[in-house]
């Protein structure tokens, strides 16, 4: 497969990642208000179909296939997450995840045309996503450590936790790194355009 095609598939895929991030953000807020995640939030997966509004340069058949796969993937993650994800009660987590999704959505129109102006939002969005996820995983490890420190001299049950959004997001991020490795294929917008 040509590198250019890989980049475009990765960018279509990133819109699914952005919709999952937006979903987690809304789920955290909803979780704080109602105490559970309403099922309607699954409609966030529709956001992964955003490329249909902007992308003109790809063969419509391929666009349909890859966008639909992304849609299914994000829908699947959201349905599973609804049952098993351990959501934080921190509104700032929701804010950061929303910011990440905005950056990734904002990158779409220009990055799909292989322009630096799109790649810039894409890279910062992915960078922030990796930083956030890595931080949350480090904090989880620190929390486990803290739990056992506080258990010294006591008989405590083993530490338990659900899957946190950061673990899902960091695993999903790897395929989205493709545009970074092939950034030399991007270009500036023509001056006279």
């Amino acid at each position: 497969m040509k590198n250019e095609s890989k980049i475009i598939i990765a960018i279509l895929y990133s819109q699914g990642l952005a919709s999952v991030s937006a979903y987690f953000s809304a789920a955290i807020v909803s979780n704080m208000i109602t105490g559970h995640t309403p099922f309607f939030l699954i409609s966030f997966s529709i956001l992964s179909l955003l490329p249909f509004l902007y992308v003109k340069k790809i063969n419509p058949r391929y666009l349909l296939i890859f966008s639909f796969l992304t849609f299914l993937l994000s829908l699947g993650i959201m349905v599973v997450s609804h049952e098993y994800i351990d959501l934080s009660g921190d509104v700032m987590d929701a804010f950061i995840l929303l910011l990440i999704s905005i950056l990734l959505f904002a990158s779409l129109r220009d990055s799909i045309n292989l322009l630096y102006s799109g790649l810039s939002f894409y890279l910062v969005g992915i960078g922030l996503l990796i930083s956030y996820s890595a931080l949350k995983i480090i904090i989880l490890l620190a929390d486990v450590f803290d739990y056992y420190i506080n258990c010294i001299g006591e008989s405590c049950a083993p530490y338990t936790t659900g899957v946190i959004p950061a673990i899902v997001l960091i695993l999903l991020t790897f395929p989205a790194l493709i545009p970074y490795w092939h950034r030399d294929l991007f270009r500036r917008e023509a001056y006279d355009s």
Binding site: M92, L119, S120, I139, I152, R188
Partner: protein, 664 residues
């Protein structure tokens, strides 16, 4: 009068030379080399001016003969004016040479040639460029003769008040040390020689060696290794990167690209993190993640240290810590009061110091990481327009941000502000930024009183402090500290992954400062607390009959107005020594976490934190304020404003909260 034309190759320098001198020119060679030397004259206002066209060069290192000719001419012939011809359509790349010229001469006129081409790429704010550089800037199209008359005018009548290119603090300190040494052997310009010696410039090293200045060379080598260690890169790259930061920062200040995006990773990241709408949300997210990292990762280490020193209660049974074991052991061979003083006073204080160490180290680790990666410079850039609203330049955000670590280095960091009024304004605002110690106390109390929303409570306090700083800044800058902010270039270094060694050095330098301060003040305060809680002899430790209990009774009526308990007032009193002590005092007075929780309503606890957020800074900060200003009236003003704002805000929080029935 002698004028030298300098510039990168292919910037239209020869066209400018021809336009200035017309037919009055001759061409030869520079002595000893086959590089062409063009010289001519021009007549302006009846004055005959000699003009020399120096060889085109990208920098002034000693790598090529053109570079050596250009810089030696400037050092030896000392031209009255240097005309730096810039290809304005490649502005950023051309500005690198300017950073080197600024080190050699203050009298530089910038000729922005090919300005018509440049206008297709960016909108260049020439007036802002003049203000930022303090130099005449002439937009021109030499090939059509546009701007030549203005250039001639500026050569004769131009006003020169150039800004200096500032290197990172770690380098500036070393340049200063070496400059002093070089001044002693009579070489001028000493700063330029110091920079070039540090940079391993072959020509300058040869000259110093020829003068027998071995001690200068030895010192330079030592300082060079220091810099290379800190930055984890060779000296040439480090210095070039610093100059590039200036050029990049200046370019971002004066040129708005018509088409967005850049070609380097740095350009691309900058495009987003300095974005008009997304820049500040990204900044808020990064700072929040940084604070989360500091407090949540430090927690297990703090708990482990706390357990080591103080032990803990499990189902009503106390597990002994070091203090208990040591006290029991010492009581066997020394008087009880002395064993208690050593263990419950000194050792407990020491324990408190070490408990805070993980937070302080992680805080400085993350701040050093953000600084060394280049992001903090972008924050200054991003906040420039906001900071101007409160009467400060963009760089003023750095001391305010450092205040989140510790107000002492933050107040010292206001030295970077050139304007004295701005500096005093920055110092006056700094105590309202909660230092790491206060944040630590807030984190502690938030977890006790608001276990489900601790981070949100902490965040609300930080936001409240920012709002108060902003409002006071507007008020002060229009009344007490009125002045005009000075233009300057914000350096924007390229992004890089910080080296572990560099970050560790910075982290240790700052943590060491905390340890020294803590080692004296906090341990001292802990001893005073012990004395007040133990005297008069025979009373129960920390009881109502002790001096500390009596003090609480006296201060109680004041606290009622803002919802503070007598014990909370006493802890605030001791917080004057060091904010960290507040937790220690609460523990002494209440005995354990459960008793602290039972002593106040959540609203009282929040009011207590608001009061602590704003009231007088610690004694070390006040000492620094005095050291930096040498003005006792200003010091009293800082103390007074703190109490006034603290009382007002806590009063509002407590009474509005009570009226609304929140947290009571």
């Amino acid at each position: 009068m002698l004028v030298a034309l300098v510039g990168n190759p292919n910037t239209g320098k020869s066209t400018v030379f021809n336009a200035l001198t017309g037919m009055r020119q001759h061409v030869g060679n520079w002595p000893g080399v086959t590089v062409e030397k063009k010289e001519g004259t021009m007549v302006v206002d009846g004055k005959v001016i000699r003009v020399v066209d120096l060889p085109g060069t990208y920098s002034l290192t000693a790598y090529s003969i053109e570079e050596v000719i250009a810089r030696n001419f400037i050092i030896e012939e000392k031209p009255d004016v240097i005309v730096h011809v810039i290809d304005a359509s490649n502005l950023e790349r051309n500005l690198y040479l300017l950073t080197e010229l600024l080190e050699l001469s203050p009298r530089i006129v910038l000729a922005l040639n090919m300005f018509d081409e440049a206008k297709k790429r960016y909108r260049i704010d020439v007036n802002k460029m003049r203000d930022l550089l303090g130099l005449p800037v002439v937009p021109m199209v030499a090939i059509r003769g546009e701007g030549i008359d203005e250039l001639k005018y500026e050569i004769i009548h131009g006003k020169f008040n150039p800004r200096r290119v500032e290197y990172p603090e770690d380098i500036e300190k070393r340049i200063e040390i070496l400059s002093d040494k070089i001044k002693q052997i009579g070489l001028e310009p000493a700063r330029w020689y110091a920079i070039k010696t540090l940079e391993n410039d072959a020509d300058v090293l040869k000259k110093l060696s020829g003068m027998g200045a071995k001690d200068v060379l030895h010192l330079a080598e030592h300082l060079r290794h220091d810099i290379e260690d800190i930055f984890g890169d060779d000296i040439e790259s480090v210095m070039a990167s610093s100059r590039y930061s200036f050029a990049h920062g200046l370019f971002h200040e004066v040129a708005a690209p018509i088409n967005v995006g850049g070609t380097t990773i740095t350009d691309m990241i900058d495009h987003v993190v300095t974005h008009k709408y997304l820049g500040i949300p990204i900044f808020i997210a990064i700072m929040y993640m940084s604070f989360q990292f500091v407090f949540l990762v430090a927690a297990p280490f703090q708990d482990a240290i706390d357990f080591f020193f103080n032990g803990k209660d499990v189902n009503g049974v106390h597990i002994n810590g070091l203090i208990d074991l040591s006290y029991a052991w010492m009581s066997t061979f020394m008087p009880d009061w002395l064993a208690s003083l050593i263990n419950h006073g000194v050792l407990r204080g020491l324990g408190a110091v070490i408990t805070f160490l993980p937070v302080i180290m992680l805080l400085f680790l993350i701040l050093s990481f953000l600084e060394d990666s280049g992001y903090l410079a972008r924050v200054a850039f991003l906040m420039d327009s906001i900071m101007k609203k409160i009467g400060l330049e963009g760089r003023g955000v750095i001391p305010l941000m450092l205040g989140f670590g510790c107000n002492v280095p933050a107040i010292m960091a206001t030295r970077t502000l050139k304007d004295e009024t701005e500096r005093k304004l920055s110092i006056a605002l700094n105590p309202f930024i909660p230092c790491g110690a206060r944040i630590q106390v807030f984190a502690f109390l938030s977890y006790i009183f608001f276990p489900d929303n601790a981070a949100l409570v902490l965040w609300s306090l930080l936001m409240l402090s920012i709002v108060v700083v902003f409002l006071l800044g507007i008020l002060y800058s229009k009344t007490l500290f009125r002045g005009e902010s000075q233009p300057f270039v914000l350096e924007l270094p390229p992004y890089r992954i910080p080296t572990l060694k560099g970050v560790s050095i910075h982290m240790w330098e700052k943590s060491e400062g905390f340890l020294k301060k803590a080692g004296t003040i906090i341990v001292g305060a802990a001893i005073i607390i012990w004395i007040l809680a133990s005297l008069p002899w025979g009373v129960e430790y920390g009881s109502e009959e002790s001096y500390i209990g009596m003090l609480a009774a006296v201060l109680a009526p004041l606290g009622v107005l803002v919802g503070l308990t007598p014990e909370a007032i006493i802890s605030l009193f001791f917080g004057f020594f060091a904010k960290e002590v507040v937790i220690d005092v609460l523990y002494v007075l209440y005995g354990n976490k459960g008793a602290i929780l039972a002593s106040m309503t959540p609203l009282q606890a929040y009011s207590f934190m608001v009061f602590m957020l704003f009231y007088t800074p610690c004694v070390a900060t006040l000492a620094t304020v005095y050291n930096e200003t040498r003005n006792i009236k200003f010091l009293l003003f800082v103390i007074g404003e703190g109490f006034l704002v603290a009382f007002t805000m806590a009063f509002l929080v407590y009474h509005i909260g009570s009226l609304m029935g929140v947290g009571i």
